[in-house]
C-alpha cells in the first residue's frame, strides 16, 4: 500500500481519535485483566514482590495437575497431528472425490467449534457406562469395555474426547500446507530417480516440517486452555491445571489467592509460548511456499 499523502498537520490528531474506542476496549477488557493476573503472580498478599507463588506451582496437587495437563495436551496434540495429517493427506493428495473433500472441510469447521459441554455429553452418551457403544459391545459382542481398563472419566477418555476437536483443527490448518506441496516437486524427484519414500524423506517432510511443528504447538495450546469439556466429562475426577484454577477462582480451594495467579500465569506462558512458536514457524513455511 503506498504511503498516505501528507495531510494538514492538525488532521493527524483526529485520525488517531478513530481508533481510541478499540484501544480503550482492549485495554479495559483484555490487557489490564491479564496484566493484573501476571502481576499478581509475582506479589505477596501484603503487596511485596516475590517468586514464592511460582515456586508453589512445583509442589503437591498443583504439580501433579500440571503434569497431567502437560501430558494430555502433548498427547492429544501429537495424536491429533498424525490423524489430522492423514485425513488432510487423503483429501488433498489421495484422489477422493471433490464432494467428500468439501464435506470434510465443512464438518471440520463445525467440529473444531463443537467443543465444551455438548461434546462431553456426546461422549458420555456414546462411551459412558450406559453409552451407545458400551451397550452395543456388551450385548452383541459380549465385551465389557470398562473391564479393559478404559474409563471415560480418566486420561484415556479425555484424550478420546479432546481428539474430537483436535483432529478437525489440524485438518483445517494443515490442508493449505499440503496443498502447497506441488506436484512438480514429486515429479522432479521421481525423474531424478527418487522413490516415493525418498521423496517424502528428502523433500515433502522437510518442507512440511515447520507447518507440522507449528500446528503441533497450536494444538497443544488449544488442549491446554480447554476447561469445559474436561469439567463436564470428568466432574473433578481428573485434576488438570485449568480445573484446579477454576475451583480456586470459585472457592479459593488452595487457601492462597496468589497461587491462583501463579497457575494463571503458567497457563499464559505455556499457551503463549506455543502460539509464538506457531506464528514464527508459519512465517517460515509461507516463505517457502511462495
Amino acid at each position: 500500500m503506498p504511503p498516505l499523502p501528507a495531510k494538514r498537520p492538525q488532521a493527524s490528531f483526529s485520525v488517531w481519535l478513530g481508533v481510541v474506542p478499540f484501544f480503550a476496549f482492549a485495554m479495559v477488557f483484555l490487557i489490564l485483566p491479564t496484566l493484573h493476573v501476571v502481576l499478581g503472580a509475582f506479589t505477596r498478599p501484603d503487596g511485596g514482590v516475590t517468586g514464592d507463588n511460582l515456586a508453589g506451582l512445583l509442589a503437591g496437587t498443583i504439580l501433579s495437575a500440571l503434569w497431567v495437563s502437560l501430558r494430555i495436551s502433548l498427547w492429544t496434540a501429537f495424536l491429533g497431528c498424525i490423524a489430522g495429517l492423514l485425513v488432510a493427506g487423503a483429501i488433498t493428495h489421495g484422489g477422493l472425490p471433490r464432494g467428500i473433500r468439501d464435506s470434510i472441510t465443512t464438518f471440520s469447521g463445525v467440529a473444531s467449534n463443537f467443543a465444551g459441554v455438548p461434546l462431553a455429553f456426546a461422549f458420555i452418551a456414546t462411551l459412558g457406562r450406559l453409552g451407545f457403544i458400551t451397550v452395543l459391545a456388551r450385548d452383541w459382542l459380549g465385551i465389557n469395555i470398562y473391564a479393559t481398563g478404559f474409563n471415560l472419566t480418566s486420561f484415556s477418555g479425555l484424550t478420546l474426547a479432546y481428539l474430537y476437536f483436535q483432529i478437525p483443527l489440524m485438518v483445517l490448518i494443515i490442508t493449505p500446507a499440503l496443498e502447497g506441496l506441488r506436484t512438480e516437486w514429486r515429479e522432479a524427484a521421481e525423474s531424478l530417480g527418487a522413490s516415493g519414500p525418498q521423496y517424502w524423506r528428502m523433500v515433502a517432510l522437510p518442507v512440511l516440517w515447520p507447518s507440522l511443528l507449528g500446528a503441533f504447538a497450536l494444538l497443544f495450546a488449544n488442549a491446554f486452555g480447554a476447561v469445559a469439556t474436561a469439567m463436564a466429562l470428568t466432574g473433578s475426577a481428573l485434576s488438570i491445571l485449568p480445573i484446579i484454577l477454576f475451583a480456586q477462582i470459585r472457592g479459593d480451594v488452595l487457601q492462597d489467592p496468589h497461587l491462583g495467579y501463579a497457575i494463571a500465569f503458567a497457563m499464559i506462558v505455556l499457551t503463549g509460548l506455543s502460539n509464538l512458536i506457531y506464528i514464527r514457524l508459519r512465517v517460515r513455511s509461507e516463505r517457502w511456499q511462495k
Partner: protein, 261 residues
C-alpha cells in the same frame, strides 16, 4: 495408484466412524428416556423446563449483544486502520490475536479480581453490570474471528479506492459508510457474527465464573442431575452450531467475495 485410493478411503472411513459414532450415540441416547422404547421424552422434558427457556433465551440475547458490541468495536476500527493509519495494523492485529493466546479462564479470573465490588469499576456488583462484563468478555473472545473476517472482507474490495471514488463524487462520510462500505462487506460481517454466535451460545467458563444463568452452566447442571436430557441438550446445541456454520458456508459461497474465517 489403486493403493493410494485404497488408503485414502480407509482413512476416510475410520475418520467417519470416529466422528459420526458420538453423534449417533448422542442421538440414540437422547431417545432412550422411556424404558424399553425410543421416545422423544427427553426432548419433551427439556422443552417443558422453564429453566431451559430462560437460559437459552438469556444466551441468545447475550450472543446478539456480543455481536453488536463486537461489530461496533471491530468494524469501524478495521475500516479506519486500513484507510487512514495502515502502519498500526500489525499492532491491532496482534491485539486481536491475544484472546487465542490467553486462555478464557485467565481472562475471567482477571475480570473477577479487577472489577469486583471493591474496585474502581465495580461491574460484578450488580446483575446488569455483570451482564455487561460478560458481554464484553465474549466480545473479547470473539475478537480474533470478528477482526479477521471483516479485515479480509475489507481487503478484498480495495476499500481505499472505493472510498476515494465515492468522496470524489461528493459523498460525505456517513454516505460512504452506509452506502459503499457496509453493503460491500455485509457477507464478511454476517460470517463473523455467526461464528461469534456459535462460540457464545454454549460457552461455559466465563458464564459460570461470573455466575450468570446462561445456557452453558445450565447444561452442566443438567449433566450432573439428569441422565438422558443432557444428550438431548447436546443434540440441540450441535444443531445450533451446525446452523451457524452452515449459514457461514452458504454466505461465503453466495457472496461476491469468499471470506475465510
Amino acid at each position: 495408484m489403486i493403493g493410494k485410493r485404497f488408503w485414502s478411503w480407509t482413512i476416510f472411513a475410520l475418520a467417519a466412524l470416529y466422528f459420526l459414532l458420538p453423534l449417533v450415540g448422542m442421538l440414540e441416547f437422547s431417545l432412550r428416556a422411556r424404558r424399553g422404547a425410543y421416545s422423544l421424552d427427553a426432548y419433551r422434558n427439556v422443552l417443558n423446563d422453564a429453566q431451559f427457556h430462560q437460559t437459552l433465551g438469556y444466551s441468545l440475547i447475550l450472543s446478539m449483544s456480543t455481536v453488536v458490541l463486537g461489530l461496533l468495536i471491530v468494524a469501524p476500527t478495521a475500516f479506519w486502520v486500513q484507510l487512514k493509519i495502515p502502519r498500526i495494523r500489525p499492532l491491532v492485529e496482534f491485539i486481536t490475536l491475544l484472546p487465542l493466546v490467553i486462555p478464557p479462564i485467565v481472562i475471567a479470573f482477571g475480570y473477577i479480581r479487577l472489577y469486583n465490588t471493591s474496585s474502581v469499576l465495580p461491574l460484578t456488583g450488580s446483575a446488569r453490570g455483570t451482564d455487561l462484563l460478560l458481554t464484553a468478555g465474549y466480545a473479547t473472545l470473539s475478537l480474533p474471528y470478528m477482526y479477521r473476517a471483516i479485515d479480509t472482507g475489507l481487503r478484498a474490495i480495495d476499500i481505499r479506492t472505493l472510498t476515494e471514488a465515492a468522496q470524489s463524487l461528493g459523498a460525505g462520510w456517513m454516505t460512504v459508510l452506509t452506502r459503499v462500505v457496509l453493503p460491500n462487506i455485509s457477507v464478511a460481517i454476517l460470517s463473523g457474527s455467526f461464528l461469534t454466535f456459535a462460540i457464545v451460545i454454549g460457552e461455559y467458563v466465563l458464564a459460570a465464573l461470573l455466575d450468570r444463568p446462561a445456557f452453558g452452566p445450565y447444561m452442566v447442571w443438567m449433566g450432573s442431575n439428569r441422565a438422558y436430557e443432557p444428550a438431548a441438550l447436546a443434540v440441540i446445541s450441535f444443531g445450533l452450531t451446525w446452523a451457524a456454520m452452515a449459514a457461514i458456508q452458504f454466505l461465503a459461497r453466495r457472496g461476491h467475495h469468499s471470506v475465510k474465517v
